[in-house]
């Protein structure tokens, strides 16, 4: 039976082309762009069109429509197609498309109000970039082969550069944008080389190329290098915290659901290649676990609310990569989906807070629960989901990830991710307690709740953060990435226990304001936390264990990892400066270079 959605490729084309059209329109019609509001409406309209198309596509896939593709040969070489241009609709791309478009639309609606104080031309420019970004992302998601995926991948990089550097008057924003672009581009060279290897051996760029194990290891390894850059894995994660210079909705878009997730999506998409690359998967497992733990440690000591979320994103991406490394494509992909919703929720509610108090620093917040009850609720929901409290979306996906790790590599990754779960709950608890409870500090006194345009997206995302976890089985079926079943063993129990423990520790340390009584779970733990013995144990654990460890990790990150990047930049500059001295400006020197060059060439000619 033909599905009523047999025009799936048409819908897919709409999903890709609507934002492209919007971006083009805004680019060539400066008078529309400079007026601001019309630009926003055009951008929103195109996003709605994309979302509707994406919804139709996903419904079609759920309704047993066959995967379908519409492609045209992009180039030919030696008479054969070198690359395919078009759209490829299957469970994986349709589900990702829905996630991307939902988050993008939420972020754009939020931005309408958030960016309202910008001058009209900047406002228009902002939405032009957004439309361009959605186009790039959809192009990437619907790519029928690796070449188009790469094209989208690079475009996403360019647009993120524009978006992160949106506040062009801030020098730090320019630097951060450049750093983000540059480091991800460095990693992209792995992608180019992977394409070259793949094309040389198979004359195509297919996701499901049949490769021998050694070759698959090479291709997958090179692709993974690109993933390390894009998805901010250790040691190329250094650009992500800096990228928080962009407007907060941009962070929600780039660093929650879309750009950083593209790396994980690539691994999911190219699963057939990765499946033949066991060695690369082992590396992914190690890198993912390490990133998760490392970034979670860093998140505990940040004082900037966006930086906490940034490191948290690194950490959660580590989860996904570890799951993919362990061979659980479903786990990694499902966590990507749930994380997209609750991290976007967290970033947007953080944006709402920042909008209200005009500061990123946790020290300037406090007691916001009373002044912004809806935002506070949204943030708390997001935190619970991120921490993986049972019942929230994060619980289900994290459970899949952890279950996949059982027994791998002497349980080390398992232990690392369990520890991360504990740390996650701790740092989120800390942010919640410091920002929303206790006494109002600084400008937080005058904060007031944001408008409906900002709260609406929060509500949508909050519902999704709570509810999407129950659809795991459907998700597994439509994406055909694995069998889904809920575990009722030790793993979820331990994870939940650790999450609660993390919140408890946060409460013990930061919950002094007694205002915390409103939150049930913490109130329950309140008595225990006050007992002298537990108090001292927590104190010792916290002060001597965790703070020192986090400080050490922070030092390593600041001075060694960032330092290495700066060092390589510095070495480049030194080399460049010494080359400058050769360029003396004195014409006889130039002639001498020519003669020496010709002499060397002739000598080679004579000797060979």
């Amino acid at each position: 039976m033909r599905s009523p959605l047999s025009e799936a490729p048409l819908a897919a084309l709409v999903a890709v082309l609507a934002p492209a059209l919007a971006a083009l329109l805004l680019a060539v019609l400066p008078m529309v762009r400079r007026r601001g509001a019309p630009a926003a409406w055009i951008c929103l309209a195109s996003s709605v069109a994309s979302l509707v198309s994406a919804g139709l596509l996903l419904a079609g896939q759920l309704g047993e429509a066959e995967p379908m593709a519409w492609t045209t040969s992009w180039l030919t070489l030696d008479g054969q197609g070198l690359g395919e241009l078009g759209v490829n609709v299957d469970g994986i791309s349709a589900s990702m498309l829905v996630v991307v478009t939902i988050v993008a639309l939420c972020v754009q609606v939020f931005s309408v109000s958030y960016m309202h104080d910008e001058p009209p031309d900047a406002y228009g420019r902002y939405f032009t970039y957004h439309a361009l970004f959605l186009f790039s992302m959809n192009l990437l998601v619907l790519a029928p082969d690796l070449l188009q995926l790469f094209a989208g991948w690079e475009l996403v990089g360019v647009t993120s550069y524009l978006l992160i550097g949106f506040y062009y008057r801030k020098p730090s924003a320019g630097r951060a944008a450049l750093k983000a672009f540059w480091i991800t581009k460095l990693a992209d060279m792995g992608f180019i080389l992977a394409l070259a290897v793949l094309f040389t051996s198979t004359s195509a760029f297919r996701f499901d190329a049949e490769l021998s194990t050694p070759l698959a290891n090479v291709v997958a390894g090179l692709l993974f290098f690109a993933v390390v850059g894009k998805s901010a894995q250790f040691p190329l994660h250094i650009w992500l915290p800096d990228a928080m210079e962009g407007p907060t909705p941009v962070s929600a878009l780039l660093h929650a659901a879309t750009m950083v997730a593209a790396g994980v999506f690539l691994v999911v998409r190219a699963d057939p290649i990765f499946a033949h690359a066991p060695d690369t998967r082992e590396v992914m497992l190690v890198v993912g676990s390490l990133t998760a733990l490392f970034a979670a440690g860093l998140a505990t000591v940040q004082t900037d609310i966006k930086k906490v979320l940034a490191y948290s994103t690194c950490s959660q991406l580590g989860y996904m990569v570890a799951a993919l490394g362990a061979g659980s494509t479903l786990g990694g992909y499902f966590h990507l989906t749930t994380h997209a919703f609750f991290k976007a929720l967290l970033f947007l509610s953080a944006g709402s807070v920042i909008h209200a108090v005009h500061s990123n620093e946790l020290a300037d917040m406090g007691g916001l629960r009373k002044r912004m009850p809806l935002t506070a609720t949204a943030f708390i929901v997001g935190s619970l989901a991120l921490a993986g409290i049972p019942g929230t979306a994060g619980f289900f996906s994290k459970d899949l990830v952890l279950a996949a790790l059982e027994g791998r590599m002497g349980w080390l990754p398992y232990v690392a991710l369990m520890t991360t779960a504990f740390l996650t709950a701790f740092y989120m608890g800390r942010v919640v307690l410091v920002a929303f409870f206790g006494e109002a500090r600084g400008k937080a006194d005058h904060a007031h709740e944001s408008g409906a345009l900002m709260l609406g997206p929060l509500a949508v995302l909050a519902v999704l953060s709570l509810g999407v976890g129950y659809f795991g089985a459907h998700f597994a079926e439509v994406t055909a990435t694995g069998e889904y079943h809920l575990h009722f063993g030790m793993t979820p129990a331990i994870a939940s226990g650790l999450a609660l423990g993390g919140f408890a520790l946060a409460y013990a340390v930061f919950g002094g304001g007694r205002d915390a009584s409103g939150v049930g779970v913490l109130a329950l733990l309140d008595g225990a936390a006050r007992s002298a013995l537990v108090d001292r144990t927590y104190e010792a654990l916290y002060r001597h264990g965790m703070l020192n460890a986090a400080a050490a990790i922070g030092w390593f990150d600041r001075y060694v990892m960032d330092g290495l990047v700066n060092l390589s930049g510095w070495l480049t500059l030194v080399a460049a400066r010494s080359l400058r001295r050769l360029q003396s400006g004195f014409a006889p020197d130039y002639v001498f270079a020519v003669v020496l060059g010709a002499l060397a060439l002739a000598a080679w000619g004579y000797l060979s």
């Binding site: 680019a27 400066p30 992009w74 180039l75 030919t76 070489l77 790469f150 094209a151 989208g152 690079e154 475009l155 990089g157 360019v158 524009l162 550097g165 062009y168 008057r169 020098p171 924003a173 320019g174 944008a177 450049l178 672009f181 540059w182 581009k185 460095l186 060279m189 180019i192 080389l193 394409l195 070259a196 290897v197 094309f199 040389t200 480049t572 500059l573 080399a575 460049a576 400066r577 080359l579 400058r580 050769l582 360029q583 400006g585 014409a587 020197d589 130039y590 002639v591 270079a593 020519v594 003669v595 020496l596 060059g597 010709a598 060439l601 002739a602 080679w604 000619g605 004579y606 060979s608």
Partner: protein
């Protein structure tokens, strides 16, 4: 010879006629002529371009001194496009700065184009050398065109006591390196031709193993011709000349002679060895060495530059290193990818130079600060600049992406794995300095400098627009260009002079 014999030479002959026409019109036009000569030249070049598409100009002239193939036609079109853009971009500048020397400017440009139209099809060393020089000598003159800037004004001023003319310095550096290279080339060719006893390129290497004099001679030629392409260590004139010569001319200098020089390289170091039996001469290794040195030094030296033209000069050195990788493969695939790269480079690099030219400070500075706030002052130019820079950096949907991808693919297939990896890493450095330029235009405030929006004439605007259309159009649909380059690449190794 019959008329048909000369058909392959139709384009250069028409270009000679155009040159003469411009010189004659220069004599007859009244003093107040505006930019009419420039428009005439542009129209003539446009006409030539149309002719190249509608009149078949393939075939063999004489005893095979000139062979018209898809390859030579492709390069002819490339030079014509570059010249057309260069004339359009220079219209206002020439009219304003050199009102009394307009005719000579365009005549010299056209005569250089004549050389470029002959060179790719030349299958005779004599013709090749003459065409190479015909291409080169007008460039020395054009580099010195802004000569009156910095001239002494008053008799009481010592000569040279004013601002030193950058034009003289730019031209002299180009000239000295060029004259030295010509002498070296001539000596090397004398040895090769003497041993071979023929001037036909296909017989240049003789039969059997290469004689020592042939090897040494060919390497001297390699060294002598490398200067035109700007390969390390023959590149040192590049940044200085780019900085001192009139910018619209530099746009031309940075692409057309390089592309045509590559075609000459192909004649001598791919076609001649192929006719010799495909033996890999000693130059393959040296081509790779030159390519590597150019990629490394060009990319590194561009990093600390603050004058955008110098930066682009070094970046051009690096880009030619990438092309050489594809040339060194010696396969028709590699050649077609090199041709693609060059075509992409023509539209992209000229575009950057035109934007830089439009934004240059009144006192002729072209540093990064002159671009500050461009995206606010002139959004069209800012957008165009960003697109061109992204194309140079090899970002998708700009034609430069395909160019770099193709070259890497070709080199990878030929087994230059490590060079491709090195090139990829260096491309990241390239991205860094291109983005420095973009950052100056997009992320710096113009409030501090308060510079007004650049005024930009019709010709320059048209040139930028054409480049933009080329970069984006070919970026979205590279097959248009790719089919042509594929034909060109296959045609060159199949056609033999009789």
């Amino acid at each position: 010879m019959t008329q048909a014999d000369f058909m392959p030479l139709l384009l250069p002959l028409l270009a000679v006629a155009a040159t003469v026409l411009v010189i004659v019109m220069d004599l007859f036009l009244p003093e107040r002529r505006g930019a009419s000569l420039g428009w005439l030249t542009a129209a003539l070049l446009g006409g030539l371009l149309v002719v190249s598409f509608y009149v078949p100009t393939t075939g063999v002239v004489g005893d095979g001194v000139f062979v018209g193939t898809a390859w030579s036609v492709f390069f002819a079109r490339l030079s014509l496009v570059a010249a057309l853009l260069a004339v359009l971009g220079a219209l206002e500048h020439v009219e304003r700065r050199f009102p009394r020397r307009q005719g000579e400017y365009y005549a010299l440009l056209l005569s250089s184009v004549v050389g470029m139209l002959i060179l790719p099809g030349a299958r005779d060393v004599l013709l090749l050398v003459v065409a190479f020089e015909l291409m080169g000598i007008p460039l020395y003159v054009l580099a010195a065109y802004a000569k009156s800037e910095g001239m002494p004004l008053l008799a009481s001023e010592e000569p040279g006591s004013g601002k030193k003319s950058p034009a003289a310095e730019a031209a002299i550096k180009l000239y000295l390196v060029g004259a030295t290279s010509t002498a070296i080339t001539l000596f090397g060719l004398a040895l090769v031709v003497g041993v071979a006893g023929t001037t036909e390129i296909t017989g240049l290497l003789g039969d059997g193993p290469l004689a020592p004099l042939t090897r040494v001679g060919m390497m001297l030629v390699l060294g002598g011709m490398s200067f035109k392409i700007g390969l390390v260590p023959f590149h040192m004139w590049v940044p200085d000349t780019y900085q001192g010569a009139p910018t619209p001319f530099v746009a031309f200098l940075s692409v057309a002679p390089k592309a045509t020089g590559i075609a000459a390289f192909v004649s001598l170091f791919v076609i001649a060895p192929a006719a010799h039996g495909g033996a890999h001469g000693p130059w393959i290794a040296m081509l790779l060495v030159l390519a590597t040195a150019s990629m490394v030094i060009g990319n590194l030296a561009a990093v600390p530059q603050s004058d955008v033209r110098r930066l682009l000069g070094f970046s051009g050195v690096a880009q030619m290193g990438y092309v050489l990788l594809a040339i060194a493969t010696g396969t028709s695939e590699g050649l077609s990818m090199a041709a693609f790269f060059l075509a992409a480079y023509v539209v992209t690099n000229m575009g950057v130079f035109f934007v830089i030219h439009a934004c240059a400070a009144e006192d002729g500075r072209h540093d990064l600060a002159s671009l500050a706030g461009l995206s606010q002052r002139a959004p069209f130019l800012g957008f165009a600049l960003l697109v061109f820079l992204l194309s140079l950096a090899g970002i998708p949907f700009a034609v430069g992406f395909w160019a770099k991808l193709y070259v890497f693919l070709a080199a990878f297939r030929a087994g230059y794995v490590w060079l491709v990896a090195l090139g990829a890493v260096l491309a990241v450095i390239g991205l860094f300095y291109y983005m420095q330029v973009a950052r100056a235009a997009f992320m710096k405030d113009d409030a501090s400098t308060g510079a007004p929006a650049p005024t930009i004439g019709v010709g320059l605007r048209a040139a930028v627009l054409l480049c933009l259309v080329g970069v984006l159009g070919l970026g979205l649909w590279p097959a248009l260009l790719f089919d042509q380059t594929a034909d060109a690449g296959t045609s060159i190794l199949e056609t033999r002079a009789p």
